[in-house]
């Protein structure tokens, strides 16, 4: 059920637990009352999500440019400034290059979701199974080593090496992201 604003009958969009003198109070506010109480809300244009606005807000909220931040996609030449201007990515690799900036953007655009659920391409499904298996075997290997079960560890290592490395899973540049969430 939708929770209403503490101050009117509009649906609440800001929810917060405030602890005052050791007692927790729940606060639920509609957009108008949230602004009136000093909450900073993202600007919206009707029902549609403005990616350019979210991107600009996301970059402003990021810590000052660390040296290693890549600002241009090596595959298509897309820059952050361009991305913010057009609101579109330039190629599949942009999702890796700008991943840090994008993950918050994606969550906001997609109602908090950040992980795909649903159909996979047949080839990618195989890759995902393989990546998941590799992660599981690696975890078991670590456990086997720490509990000094060396024979089991050797078997696990053999199985792991038979699966190849993450780089072998290349189905084009888009699928190089090795670890699954």
């Amino acid at each position: 059920m939708t929770r209403l604003c503490d101050h009117c009958d509009q649906p609440a969009t800001v929810h917060e637990t405030v602890i005052k003198t050791g007692v927790a109070h729940e606060v639920h506010l509609c957009a108008d009352h949230a602004r009136a109480h000093g909450y900073v809300l993202p600007a919206t244009t009707g029902a549609a999500v403005s990616i350019t606005q979210i991107l600009q807000a996301a970059q402003q909220s990021q810590p000052r440019a660390p040296e290693r931040t890549i600002r241009t996609c090596p595959s298509c030449g897309m820059t952050i400034a361009n991305l913010q201007a057009v609101g579109l990515l330039g190629c599949p690799d942009c999702y890796k290059v700008f991943e840090e900036l994008l993950s918050g953007v994606i969550q906001r655009a997609q109602d908090g979701a950040s992980i795909h659920v649903g159909r996979h391409p047949a080839q990618a499904a195989t890759l995902i199974d393989r990546a998941a298996l590799r992660n599981r075997l690696a975890k078991e290997l670590r456990e086997a080593v720490s509990s000094e079960e060396y024979e089991r560890a050797a078997r696990l290592r053999d199985r792991l090496s038979s699966l190849g490395t993450a780089g072998d899973d290349d189905l084009g540049a888009t699928l190089n992201t090795p670890a699954l969430p």
């Binding site: 609101g87 599949p92 994606i106 649903g118 159909r119 888009t174 699928l175 969430p181």
Partner: protein, 347 residues
């Protein structure tokens, strides 16, 4: 363009057909190895076109496929396709290499090089989302046999805009909401839609006006939910809820002022049957009033499918096609529109 003149567009014989004018499912996909459309060079876009044209489209297109190259097609073809929502406005007006595949029944299209390399759409009159999602799954599987789509283990199918990520599926229905407008409850509807993370648009999608009290609602969330869950939520819960809002408003309208409601429908039919001049705006207005009259049983001399058909045929490119004249010459022929409406209603 005979191939797209099929009555399947006007079908109203579906459970929620009194309010749901049409249903549509759209799928966004990009081919690996190429930049997205906004960063691709013309020769790369041409190559993408050739790759899609040589791939298997499967059962949705089994009765034949017509490819229209947008760079060489004439303006009335583009107008027809746009009025039927088979292509988008930016796609219709672009200048880069792009084409569209049309199924023989005119209900499915694949825009190649719209915002994404492929934007497939399947469309039907009335409320048929379950069947459409099934057909779209088949089409996706067929395409995948010859094309490798950009996919990320975490983000799913990759699209130029992050709002389409994940499944890449968007479902929408065109809703006829005259009673909600008359009772001044559209704002309530918009708020409910926003709360449910739905986009509300006009007759021709993004940025278009709500002609004839027609509103398109679609799911905005494409990531983190499976195709089945999205369908279950949208078609099973959300659409019936909006239909119910409108039905209740129609009943309230009838109970509050039966005479005025009845008069409005009959007056609309009178104008449409008699007018010698009809602007597009007026045609939409009176067809909308007639449609609600037919839905409420006030008017029984006109079939709902006829009203649905006229809602398409009064639009400029359709009207020009019916009159066999180029769309550019017909600009907005108010007299021809009135003649066509009279002939259809009297026939």
């Amino acid at each position: 363009m005979k191939a797209i003149d099929r009555s399947v567009f006007y079908d109203s014989d579906t459970p929620l057909g009194d309010v749901v004018l049409s249903s549509r499912v759209r799928l966004a996909r990009n081919i690996t190895g190429y930049p997205f459309v906004n960063r691709a060079a013309p020769d790369q876009l041409t190559e993408v076109m050739h790759r899609v044209q040589s791939s298997q489209l499967g059962s949705v297109f089994e009765h034949g496929t017509r490819w229209v190259n947008l760079q060489s097609s004439d303006v009335s073809d583009r107008g027809m396709l746009f009025e039927r929502n088979l292509i988008s406005k930016p796609f219709s007006e672009g200048t880069h290499p792009r084409c569209v595949a049309l199924s023989a029944d005119g209900c499915a299209s694949i825009m190649v090089n719209e915002e994404d390399h492929l934007r497939a759409q399947i469309y039907a009159g009335g409320f048929k989302l379950h069947a459409l999602v099934g057909s779209m799954t088949q089409l996706d599987r067929s395409l995948e046999r010859s094309l490798e789509f950009a996919f990320h283990p975490r983000f799913g199918y990759l699209t130029a805009c992050p709002t389409n990520l994940g499944t890449g599926i968007r479902m929408s229905v065109m809703l006829h909401l005259p009673a909600l407008r008359i009772l001044d409850e559209l704002e309530k509807m918009r708020r409910a839609a926003k709360e449910l993370k739905l986009a509300v648009r006009g007759l021709h999608g993004e940025g278009s006006d709500a002609h004839a009290e027609l509103f398109q609602i679609s799911n905005q969330i494409t990531l983190g939910r499976s195709e089945e869950d999205l369908l279950e939520e949208f078609a099973g819960v959300i659409v019936p809820r909006f239909v119910e809002y409108e039905r209740q408003a129609r009943q309230r309208m009838l109970e509050t002022d039966a005479l005025e409601t009845t008069d409005r429908a009959h007056r609309a039919l009178g104008v449409l049957r008699s007018a010698r001049i009809l602007t597009l705006e007026a045609a939409f207005k009176y067809l909308s009033r007639l449609r609600v009259g037919v839905a409420l049983g006030i008017i029984d001399s006109v079939a709902m499918s006829t009203v649905n058909r006229l809602l398409l045929e009064v639009q400029p490119a359709h009207l020009a096609r019916i009159r066999s004249i180029p769309a550019s010459a017909a600009d907005d022929d108010r007299a021809a529109r009135a003649t066509h409406v009279r002939a259809t209603l009297d026939g």
